[in-house]
């Protein structure tokens, strides 16, 4: 979690040191640096929001609100912390608020949202796979909030348990329990759907 050297790189290939320099400049009031910071991180924030909210319009609102929040609180950012962990914790809170405010989640996932089949898959296999993904997405959306966020951050976003715990403000042991419960529920839910019955 602690940023130690410039050897660690994020998804965009930007070095952590460069990111840190951009953060410092943005904190000092450089608008151009803040814009660069947004450009470097917006896609990851949008994808996280998309996975939580499942609605493109809400994602726009969430990304916007997240960066406004980042601007307001950038002065409080502790450079010893992982910036993306800090950023994701803001994004998750914003998404939570949006989700609670609107009290609706997209339960039905369009088959078009699922990835296209790999080249070596037969059409039947591809359809089956896409159906599985759509089913899993629906199942995740149907989970209680804490379990849903834990499984999304751990399994879909592929963060470590410690990172998930830090973002959600829980203990790692609690997160492990939530993830375990969520997995069990998802399997049960999907088995029931595959079998034609309802959970």
């Amino acid at each position: 979690m602690i940023v130690t050297a410039a050897v660690k790189t994020d998804d965009d290939g930007r070095s952590t040191a460069l990111l840190l320099a951009t953060i410092r400049a943005a904190r000092g009031g450089d608008e151009r640096a803040f814009e660069e910071l947004m450009m470097a991180t917006e896609r990851r924030v949008a994808l996280l929001a998309w996975r939580i909210l499942g609605d493109a319009e809400e994602v726009k609102e969430a990304v916007q609100e997240t960066f406004l929040c980042v601007f307001r609180h950038l002065g409080r950012y502790d450079e010893g912390r992982d910036f993306f962990g800090w950023l994701f914790s803001i994004a998750v809170n914003v998404c939570r608020d949006l989700d609670r405010r609107r009290r609706r989640r997209r339960i039905f996932t369009s088959i078009d949202d699922t990835p296209h089949p790999a080249g070596d898959e037969s059409p039947d296999e591809a359809i089956g796979r896409r159906r599985e993904i759509a089913l899993l997405t629906r199942a995740i959306d149907a989970l209680p909030e804490k379990e849903r966020l834990a499984i999304l951050l751990r399994e879909v976003q592929e963060l470590s348990t410690d990172q998930v715990a830090a973002i959600l403000g829980s203990r790692p042991a609690t997160v492990r329990v939530q993830i375990s419960r969520a997995r069990a529920k998802l399997r049960q839910w999907m088995e029931a759907r595959r079998g034609g019955g309802r959970p």
Binding site: E31, P115, I133, L136, V156, E158, L186
Partner: protein
């Protein structure tokens, strides 16, 4: 039950386009610029609110007690009955005010409900040795009460 769930394939497609991101950045930067342009606006607003509250509290604390306030308060403008002196002769005293009555009649017809309470017009004639005449004017200009009191002297 031990199968691997395809978590990595859940919502992998980026929902926003480059244009969406550009629009979001523009909105955020505009709001940031607005905040920087008017950094003292919020402070000024907060200071104004605090000053207003302080002023209200000061006025409330320094308001005079109710008995004093009642004394200071201006008197109510209740119309007093008009007293007019009329000629000593009862016949003239009775005739003079009645002559004005027709002028008010058209207005009375337009007004459906009398709004003002009856205002008696008290007229007292001054000659104690002759007669004292009281004229009471009601809200209806056609009705007037005339009281003629003969002096005992």
């Amino acid at each position: 039950m031990n199968e691997k769930l395809p978590f990595k394939d859940v919502r992998v497609k980026q929902p926003l386009t480059d244009a969406d991101f550009a629009a979001i950045r523009a909105t955020v930067l505009a709001q940031v610029a607005r905040r920087r342009r008017f950094p003292m606006a919020r402070l000024a607003l907060a200071a104004t609110i605090v000053a207003a509250i302080a002023l209200g509290a000061f006025v409330a604390l320094h308001r005079p007690p109710q008995h004093l306030a009642a004394r200071i308060a201006p008197p109510s403008h209740r119309p007093l009955p008009s007293i007019t002196a009329t000629p000593t002769t009862p016949a003239i005293a009775a005739a003079a005010p009645l002559a004005e009555a027709p002028a008010t009649q058209p207005a009375r017809r337009r007004r459906r409900h009398p709004v003002a309470p009856p205002q008696p017009m008290l007229a007292a004639t001054g000659d104690e040795q002759a007669a004292i005449t009281f004229q009471l004017q009601t809200s209806n200009p056609d009705i007037r009460i005339i009281w003629i009191e003969r002096s005992s002297k």
